[in-house]
Symmetry: C2
Subunit: 106 residues, 2 copies
């Protein structure tokens, strides 16, 4: 079982999810990202570190810049975990399950 916790933890913060959306459109340096948030570069960098630990982004040091880009691996880990619950979304199955359970208990 691959480690899902770091990825789920990273996705738990709205700022980090928003950063992911941005990086899905284009790779960006820390400064570029930070310029779009009402917080310091240092704060944004901490968020990027958490995203990197969750394998949601990868980083390439280019000269004095640090280029961040989307890393699908962590996203895949999360969706794979979610897939387990897929069959609970089907309304027909839910209805059937409900009927069976109620019948069992009466």
């Amino acid at each position: 079982m691959s480690e899902v916790q770091p990825a789920f933890k990273a996705l738990g913060d709205p700022t980090r999810r928003q950063i992911l959306m941005q990086l899905s459109r284009q790779e960006m340096s820390i400064g570029e990202i930070a310029s779009e948030y009402p917080m310091t570069r240092a704060a944004v960098k901490k968020h990027l570190k958490v995203l990197e630990e969750g394998d949601l982004i990868s980083v390439e040091v280019r000269g004095r810049e640090r280029i961040n880009r989307l890393q699908p691996r962590g996203l895949k880990v999360v969706t794979d975990w979610m897939k387990y619950f897929d069959h609970f979304w089907d309304n027909k199955l839910d209805a059937l399950k409900s009927i069976v359970e109620n019948t069992e208990k009466q």
Copy 2:
């Protein structure tokens, strides 16, 4: 846009994800759930509250018991959000994207 934050927040904790797995197999009272964790009922109840706020479980008060069951709604909100990134997982597309980007920059 439906509110994804409460669901993502709820999924960020390993104990809560484990509780979800249990509830996917059978509905359970707080006491039943708590008996399987090295923490107090009060702590488990707090986790259940967070799960409920994320629409990941629903609760039915039955006599003096409180029955918790999986609620697919919150899970759906999360997978819907994740779906946006689906097209980044295809290795062929990634490879192509990489080639295009590198070509542009040389």
